[in-house]
Symmetry: C2
Subunit: 211 residues, 2 copies
């Protein structure tokens, strides 16, 4: 009957899915767990610490069983897995972005990404920079994707989309804004990732040191 730390994290993710990040409240979470709000502060010092535990829980398993094969394939799979992990819970990307996470799962995935690039032939420093860059790309992309989903859920998306088209109609010429709005997020993500990976390959053949 007693609450364990992991129960609190799991409950918090459930409440997150119900209410979104702005609706996630220590009091609502306590109610969901059948407990008084103050009880949560025995398991976590404050809300921020709980959010960090949630963030690390989100990325759990992302680094499991990476396929063997060329680095491009490994790296691509890892990136898609991280994106899917963030999409698995409402506002997941915002939770991860909320603070600088230095928990076990987050570290393990980050390290793996760097190792893949290092084994491919990049010096540690460059591998690290690029792994971070791709991480930030995924984070930013997924934040926007989920922000758009929140907007759509609240019914405000159609109005915003219309305003956007009208605005861009006043621009001259190419209007690529319209061309992009209809591309599904998954496709936009995959394409951006491909471009990045092509850049990495260029770095490998041209860079300061072949291994």
């Amino acid at each position: 009957m007693q609450l364990r730390r992991d129960d609190v994290v799991a409950g918090a993710l459930a409440v997150l899915d119900d209410t979104g990040m702005d609706g996630l409240t220590m009091r609502k979470l306590a109610a969901h767990l059948g407990v008084q709000a103050g009880a949560l502060y025995w398991h976590f010092p404050n809300k921020q610490a709980l959010l960090e535990a949630m963030a690390d829980k989100l990325v759990e398993g992302v680094d499991d069983d990476v396929v063997s094969g060329p680095w491009e394939r490994q790296f691509t799979e890892l990136a898609h897995r991280l994106r899917r992990a963030l999409l698995a819970h409402r506002d997941g990307a915002r939770v991860l972005a909320g603070t600088f996470v230095a928990e076990p799962n987050t570290l393990a995935s980050g390290t793996l990404a760097m190792e893949i690039l290092h084994r491919a032939g990049l010096p540690a420093r460059e591998a690290g920079c690029i792994a971070f860059s791709v991480f930030h790309f995924i984070l930013g992309h997924t934040i926007e994707e989920q922000a758009q989903a929140e907007l759509a859920a609240s019914g405000a998306w159609e109005a915003k989309r219309a305003a956007l088209s009208e605005q861009s109609a006043q621009e001259t010429g190419v209007r690529p804004l319209d061309a992009i709005m209809d591309v599904p997020p998954e496709e936009r993500f995959a394409y951006g990732l491909t471009v990045f990976i092509n850049g990495i390959r260029h770095q490998l053949t041209t860079g300061s040191g072949g291994s």
Copy 2:
């Protein structure tokens, strides 16, 4: 003596710099402006609308006077300008990421980025995808950069950094995490951007259509 919309936005950015995003409160902002909290709701329907106005104010001027020259130079300058604009105010990146912004300045910069790539020879659709991708990279990178700054300001950074090193010390072999932590953010950003741009160049020479 009367408050205009722009005064509220300017005041909000000032309070943001003082308190950070979590400390930015309608009541504190009202006090800063010498007004009661309810008065703000004559100028903005709610806090979210104010945050969007702040976000658009942040990116004001980012698209001014782009240098002429090769697309790489134009694109790089635009990216660095956006990053600097977000860094100019505490938690600026989080403010911009908070919602899907469809305000004039944001749109203008986005459109410019796409046009630069389109003129370089990319189809509108690809130009849009890539402009978004780089935008997301900048957003994610700057969010983390500022999150780290907040941590440092609260004194929690040193402890976290130590925990991070210890964790990664238990991993075997390469430990690129340590190699990366000391690279200054500006340098990490510039390197990641370069890799991305190399990927774009690859797309231009190989892609589905030369213009």
